[in-house]
């Protein structure tokens, strides 16, 4: 007999086109296609409405609720406390809480580091740039890792940083990218979507973040610092099914050795020697002999 499917709800603060949300959304859609879960979701849920959406799903019998607690840390924990039968898996910068409030961080800094290594070897001007949303730890972390990776292979590399002040404004990210190209950058790390458009306009190269942007910008995006939500989701589902407490930090599943993040690149666009250096480091990260430092300070 078939086990009943688990009821999973996604509560997205942004529209699900937003790269980060799309990773969560995609992973849950995939699980639904695999016949493992029933997936329902809300998007564009503002902070004021967020706790209500959580509660409605909890009251509606969702067994696992996936979302983001960043803007509503206290309220989300309160909701979890009120609905002990539901597991919560929340993107958060905070700690797990109670019995059922699990958290995760978006750690694709390892992939960003590797991308930085490629960028450092490939830049001709010696200047690279990163365009981020706003300087929160998760954003800072990848940008710092990207720079660190570049610096490892090219210690004198110049790294520009721009923040667009909002999480979703591609035209603005594009302008920020163009500004960096004007300032000499020839490889852009697009923490935010829109950055690669600038690179495409000016015929320089770009690195994507979180999602695989190569199909969208062929010939421009040569590498992506991918983040996979699947391992986190699958573990949380397993925990919930097995009745193990879900109030834990799922972040380690984001690590490369767990398959949580990785670099995705286009062979033909990357020089072989650069690739070799990067691949060596990738192996070191996977086998644990190298740890990419975590630096959440605001990059300057």
């Amino acid at each position: 007999a078939q086990t009943p499917k688990m009821k999973v709800a996604g509560v997205h603060a942004s529209p699900v086109e937003n790269a980060w949300n799309s990773r969560l959304h995609g992973a849950m859609q995939k699980a639904a296609e695999d016949g493992l879960i029933d997936y329902v979701f809300s998007e564009g849920v503002s902070a004021g409405d967020y706790p209500r959406a959580l509660r409605e799903y909890a009251e509606g019998g969702a067994q696992l609720i996936v979302g983001e607690a960043y803007a509503v840390e206290a309220e989300a924990r309160q909701v979890a406390a009120d609905y002990p039968d539901t597991a919560f898996l929340m993107g958060s910068s905070g700690e797990p809480a109670g019995e059922n409030f699990g958290t995760f961080g978006t750690w694709n800094h390892e992939a960003a580091y590797l991308a930085g290594m490629l960028a450092g070897q490939m830049t001709k001007t010696g200047t690279i740039g990163s365009v981020g949303a706003i300087p929160i730890p998760e954003v800072n972390m990848v940008i710092n890792a990207f720079r660190a990776g570049a610096m490892e292979v090219k210690p004198d590399v110049k790294h520009l940083v721009g923040f667009i002040g909002t999480f979703f404004d591609p035209p603005k990210a594009r302008e920020a990218g163009l500004a960096q190209i004007d300032a000499g950058a020839d490889i852009l790390y697009g923490e935010r979507i829109g950055t690669a458009d600038a690179a495409k306009d000016r015929g320089v190269k770009a690195v994507g973040n979180m999602v695989d942007y190569t199909p969208r910008y062929p010939d421009t995006v040569f590498a992506n610092a991918i983040w996979n939500f699947d391992p986190l989701l699958r573990l949380a589902m397993a925990d919930k099914a097995a009745g193990t407490p879900t109030a834990k930090n799922y972040t380690p599943l984001s690590l490369m050795k767990q398959g949580g993040n990785d670099i995705l690149f286009v062979d033909s666009m990357v020089p072989a020697e650069a690739l070799a250096v990067m691949e060596a480091k990738r192996k070191a990260i996977k086998d644990g002999s190298f740890t990419v430092p975590i630096d959440t300070a605001e990059p300057k």
Partner: protein, 314 residues
């Protein structure tokens, strides 16, 4: 200091200025046209959103880019018709109606978008307008690289600004529009139909607003996504005031604002936030308020702005 000068001397900055200014030029011209006839259209933010959505959707469904612009203009015009119906025919409060239309048009855009485009991982794209290097002119150093390597809608915006300036200042139609905005009773006494003129101005103005939105999805970017107008409509309302209702000055104001923005983005990587970016973003609003104070004393505001005109009332 030299860094600042470098930025100001860079081609990229000035090219960006035109690009950032384009949606504002469309929006400002649209709002200006409608206000010149005496109707404030606070529906602009929503109308731009709808234009961005419907223009993009048209192209996404296989339409030509120009068809997309046409769809955006028509969509804007339809909301303009709604605004005119409520404020010109019925004389309802212009700002309340306008805010209602903003709320309606933007939420409707998101809704229709979500229905029409199944949720995908990253926003689906279209092939946007490409920059056109105008032969000969684009070879001029500096000027050619900034002014003459833009996409078609940017050229369209510049042409429209000049055209509207011409129409308002030099043609009988422009005079009729101005007279209607100053005193609709006087217009009627000259055998003009203030109601039709207001309808025309609001509908045409809203079409321009729709184009401004579409620029964002068909040229500045290649996807639509909610909240993408990001207050550009409100900035346009401010710029109209700043420009004291002159298309030429509106063009200047839009470029000035875009210069702030482009400059600020370029200053950030080197200055690292000596001045918080919010201060730059506040400038257009504060300058507009200041401009209003100056302008109000000169009574340059169209005198019948926001005054409903109902036939046969006195």
């Amino acid at each position: 200091m030299t860094a600042v000068l470098d930025i100001l001397a860079s081609v990229g900055l000035w090219a960006a200025v035109l690009r950032i200014a384009t949606p504002l030029i469309f929006g400002t011209l649209g709002a200006l046209l409608s206000e010149r006839a005496g109707v404030l259209n606070l529906g602009i933010e929503g109308i731009m959103t709808f234009g961005a959505m419907i223009g993009w959707l048209t192209v996404y469904q296989g339409g030509d880019l120009w068809l997309g612009l046409l769809a955006a203009a028509s969509g804007g015009a339809l909301f303009g018709l709604l605004h005119a119906g409520m404020t010109v025919s019925l004389g309802l409060s212009q700002h309340v109606t306008g805010l209602g239309i903003t709320l309606f048009a933007s939420s409707l855009s998101y809704y229709v978008f979500r229905l029409a485009v199944p949720v995908a991982g990253s926003p689906p794209t279209i092939e946007p307008f490409q920059p056109i290097a105008i032969p000969v002119l684009s070879a001029i150093p500096f000027l050619g690289e900034t002014l003459f390597r833009q996409t078609a809608p940017t050229y369209l915006a510049l042409v429209l600004a000049l055209l509207l300036a011409w129409i308002l200042a030099k043609t009988p139609l422009g005079l009729a529009i101005r007279l209607t905005g100053e005193n609709p009773h006087a217009a009627e006494a000259r055998g003009l139909d203030p109601i039709r003129i207001r309808y025309g101005a609001v509908v045409a103005g809203s079409a321009l607003m729709g184009l401004g939105g579409a620029f964002l999805t068909l040229s500045a970017f290649n996807s639509f996504f909610p909240t993408m107008i990001q207050g550009r409509g409100w900035i346009s309302i401010a710029l109209v005031v700043f420009a004291s209702w002159h298309p030429g000055r509106a063009l200047f104001g839009a470029l000035l604002f875009a210069l702030f923005d482009a400059f600020q983005l370029r200053l950030q990587p080197i200055a690292g936030g000596l001045v918080p970016y919010q201060v730059f973003l506040m400038m257009p609003y504060l300058l507009s308020i200041a401009a209003l104070v100056v302008v109000a004393r000169k009574a340059r505001v169209p005198q019948a702005l926001m005054r409903p005109y109902l036939r046969g009332e006195r």
